[in-house]
């Protein structure tokens, strides 16, 4: 039943790494992005909420955070596009006994900047950040966050108390942002030694104090490498932008049918362009009016336009999770998203038109895209 790629991809090919509740799939196409080969599932039966492709320093490494319902969570590695999987037998992402915490799930795996080619970060539940200095073979917790004074007051959201988002600064490697549901957005300027909440202006509609210092249910934060201080944030109700690395936030829900949602993603080449998939409400987490539409801003949130050409526009009772919307880096940007009903859609023209890649996957938790570099 499970399949692997029959040949290694060529430079310029697009890889879509798809995590589902029943395993991981590696889906690929040449640069035309017209025909797709689906391989998988890898780790059948295990939930995959975190997946990444690392092609720094000549690697071709896929990293998967897989959660067995019985045996716990671990990060597995493949250097041959899923034909074989390696990784330490011991579970490499481990909390120290002194923390009193145990790993529930890996939520995010993020390669660091190119000038630290062996460094990766991972975010987990219960909320913590881990660092690898050997390309994902071993991991250590970031103590500044593990021992943060706010930790006893952080409350779990519907998905658990998870650190699901890692935002890097391409111009300042000691700076990084993370988002925790529900603790909000935190930033370090000293390589993880200290972390400060940066939620000024972001609402927490579910708390008596609607504008707390921390405790917001931030669903996703993204930025663009060319303008790292500008952040876009999809909140649990609320759509925001910051132009000062989170010091302050402005509401940018201008013309969207709902400011509730999970996913938000940058255009790969334009720091003013971002994509979201609004959902009707937190009680009915379905696209508004059952019309499946991605919304795009090209003016940093001053306005948003619906993109539904090729997507079902009636009886589409669909939902898209926080990491299930992604872009590739081709000149004509590819945009991709997966739904909780297992449908995977692609656009090779920056969202102007869409096609279905496959509609029969298990519920999709995450989608990451990569354009294969020359070796």
């Amino acid at each position: 039943m499970s399949t692997s790629r029959t040949a290694p991809p060529a430079p310029g090919d697009v890889l879509l790494l798809v995590g589902t509740t029943k395993g991981a799939f590696i889906i690929s196409s040449d640069a035309s992005r017209q025909r797709w080969e689906v391989a998988g599932p890898h780790f059948p039966g295990e939930a995959v909420y975190a997946i990444a492709y690392d092609q720094r320093a000549g690697r071709t490494r896929t990293l998967v955070g897989a959660q067995s319902n019985h045996w716990g969570s671990t990060i597995r590695l493949s250097d041959d596009f899923g034909q074989t999987w390696t990784g330490p037998e011991r579970q490499a992402v481990r909390f120290p006994e002194s923390s009193g915490l145990s790993l529930a799930q890996v939520w995010q795996i993020t390669p660091a900047l190119d000038d630290e080619p062996d460094v990766l970060w991972c975010g987990v539940e219960p909320a913590a950040l881990f660092r690898s200095g050997d390309a994902g073979e071993s991991w250590e917790p970031v103590k500044g966050l593990l021992e943060h004074a706010h930790r006893p007051k952080w409350m779990p959201g519907g998905g658990g108390l998870c650190l699901h988002t890692i935002v890097l600064d391409a111009t300042e490697p000691r700076r990084m942002g993370i988002a925790i549901s529900t603790a909000g957005f935190y930033r370090t300027d000293d390589d993880g030694e200290s972390w400060t909440p940066r939620n000024s202006g972001v609402r927490a509609v579910f708390l008596p104090d609607k504008m707390p210092e921390f405790g917001q249910c931030v669903h996703k934060v993204v930025n663009h490498p060319s303008r790292p201080e500008r952040l876009f944030l999809q909140n649990h109700w609320g759509l925001y932008r910051s132009d000062d690395w989170g010091d302050s936030w402005q509401d940018i829900a201008n013309g969207v049918p709902s400011d509730f949602g999970f996913a938000i993603q940058m255009h790969p080449h334009d720091p003013d362009t971002a994509y979201i998939v609004p959902l009707q409400s937190d009680e009915f987490r379905i696209v508004p009016d059952a019309k499946l539409r991605v919304y795009r801003t090209r003016d940093a949130g001053a306005s948003w336009e619906p993109l539904g050409n090729g997507l079902p526009q009636e009886q589409a009772f669909e939902s898209v999770l926080r990491d299930a919307l992604t872009t590739d880096t081709h000149a004509s940007a590819g945009v991709y998203f997966g739904t909780r009903s297992g449908k995977l859609y692609a656009s090779s023209d920056a969202g102007e038109s869409w096609t279905s890649i496959i509609e029969t996957l298990p519920p999709i938790c995450c989608v990451k895209a990569a354009v294969v570099r020359p070796s």
Binding site: H70, W71, E89, L101, S102
Partner: protein, 93 residues
């Protein structure tokens, strides 16, 4: 004499294919037996116990025919010749 630990098939790969491990009868408790198992096959016990040494939620351990959840948990006494069986619980969806 010894205490026998039966591994589920999903974990035998972490014990070089071994499905049954004998540990010294001086262990006296399930925790002690699992500690000896961990000394030999740590990747097995990683998947049975959390970092805090607690039994994972969807893993069951039996001494004879009795689940330790209805006995004294990991402190359940094991006698010489006992059999400890590790099995995945009924769960999932």
């Amino acid at each position: 004499m010894a205490i026998s630990i039966i591994l589920p098939s999903a974990l035998t790969r972490y014990a070089r294919g071994t499905g049954e491990v004998s540990v010294d009868a001086s262990c006296t408790t399930v925790a002690g037996a699992l500690a000896e198992l961990a000394a030999r096959w740590p990747a097995v016990t990683d998947r049975v116990l959390t970092e805090q040494g607690e039994l994972r939620r969807h893993v069951n351990v039996f001494v004879g025919d009795e689940s330790i959840r209805f006995m004294d948990g990991l402190s359940t006494r094991v006698d010489d010749g006992a059999t400890i069986t590790i099995v995945p619980a009924v769960s999932g969806g």
